[in-house]
Amino acid sequence: MREIAVDDVADTVRKLCVEANHELRGDHVEALQRARDRERSPIGQEVLDRLLANAEVSARERIAFCQDTGYAVCFLEIGQDVHFTGGSLAAALDRGVAEGYREGYLRASLVRSPVDRVNTGDNTPAMVHYDLVEGDGVRLTLLVKGAGCDNMSALRMLTPAAGVAGMRKFVVETIEAAGPSASPPVTVGIGMGGTFDRAAVLAKKALTREPTGSPSPDPKLAELEAELVDAIDATGIGPAGFGGTVTTVAVHVEAYPTHIAAFPVAINLDCHSHRVRTVTL
């Protein structure tokens, strides 16, 4: 058994919140540069140039590169031989978020209830997903998720008859409906299979794949990802939705076993301000 102090977890989350919001990850900058290379619309090229310039300014000035500093989504893969010490792990995650958002001059964007809509003041609670795995390690991924693109996400319970063709159609419809509101060029996380809830979590987790645009290890899924990139770019929505040849920088598909009667598909969109950091504790 390995002991990990929850204070160390809080401190890690604090640092990741600041870093993720101030510095666009290097591989995502490269993904935007590749997008710039293949964009043919002059307005689209201008948008991508400004996004790249913005990333430089934010890192230099230690300012958020997007004002929607989002939900702090934490994926924790916890080894079953780990024992957390020094208090509540959930409270430590929230403490890390609150401290990181204060320290980084990040916006508090969460309300305590969708009904009364009073701001919690410190961007808590963290949105946490726990997975118990073998071993004595902890893998922590922070995804800072803006609402503009999360709002444009969708989930549909397709039938097996609708199949992969139905899934492609659903993806393109979702992208078309989102248009400029998801802040393209987007990263598209797709969760296929499992149950209603499992598909949604898979879609969100798919966004955290690193580096941006790396293909699925499953050749069939990798082929599907490449087809979907083409279908999404064909919409012509383009950078910031002003029209252009590049609407997505990456499609990441994750699949899971499902029921003989089911084909759940969840699509989680992430804006060009992609904020993901993964560490191992």
């Binding site: 043919r40 996004l51 310039a53 934010s58 300012i63 001059y105 003041g121 709002n151 910031a240 002003f242």
Partner: protein, 184 residues
């Protein structure tokens, strides 16, 4: 690139066409979801709005906190469609410009054409760059809303694109239509 002074001149905005790049300089006001709900309540209750919409430009933004010595934090546009239900209330009262991101409803577009209001798209995800174009910021209403409070900003060479002009042009419709193709 067209340089435009704020408050916007009613004649100058007639010359704008969707897809034009502009640089805005001068004063504007900010407001987003929660503030708009209060604008609507004020109008319903016959109370005064915190600013006179006539001739004004409204930017849909909720900035991050400012670092000491800075006018404002990161300040990019938010999704304008969430304000669609309320925008006509302000457009009917003379609002001349809106800045945000994303498509507007048919009702809002009709109201803008009828009353002479232009919708500009700022580039979301350039919040750090846009922050450098904001030289002053002051909360003028609803301070309790935090990031959603209504602010008076002073901007200099604030870059935006004309999305909905006064001639029926719509960059979010026309731009993608031009680049649309069949999947390969």
């Amino acid at each position: 690139m067209t340089e435009l002074s704020l408050p916007l001149d009613a004649e100058a905005i007639r010359a704008l066409h969707s897809g034009d790049s502009v640089l805005l300089s001068g004063p504007l006001v900010t407001g987003r979801d929660a503030a708009h709900e209060r604008f609507a309540r004020a109008v319903e209750g016959g109370e005064r709005l915190p600013f006179d919409p006539a001739g004004e430009t409204l930017y849909f933004v909720g900035p991050t906190p400012a670092r000491p010595g800075h006018a404002i934090g990161a300040a990019g546009p938010t999704t304008a469609s969430r304000m669609d239900a309320w925008s006509p209330l302000l457009v009917e009262r003379g609002l001349r410009g809106m800045i945000g991101k994303g498509r507007r409803s048919e009702t809002v577009k009709e109201s803008m054409l009828e009353h002479g209001c232009v919708y500009f798209g700022a580039i979301e995800g350039t919040a750090a760059l846009l922050s450098q174009c904001i030289t002053a910021s002051e909360v003028i209403a609803y301070e309790d809303l935090g990031a959603e409070a209504v602010r008076r900003l002073e901007v200099r060479d604030f870059p935006a694109l004309v999305v909905n002009d006064l001639h029926g042009g719509d960059l979010y419709r026309d731009g993608p239509a031009r680049w649309r193709r069949a999947p390969s």
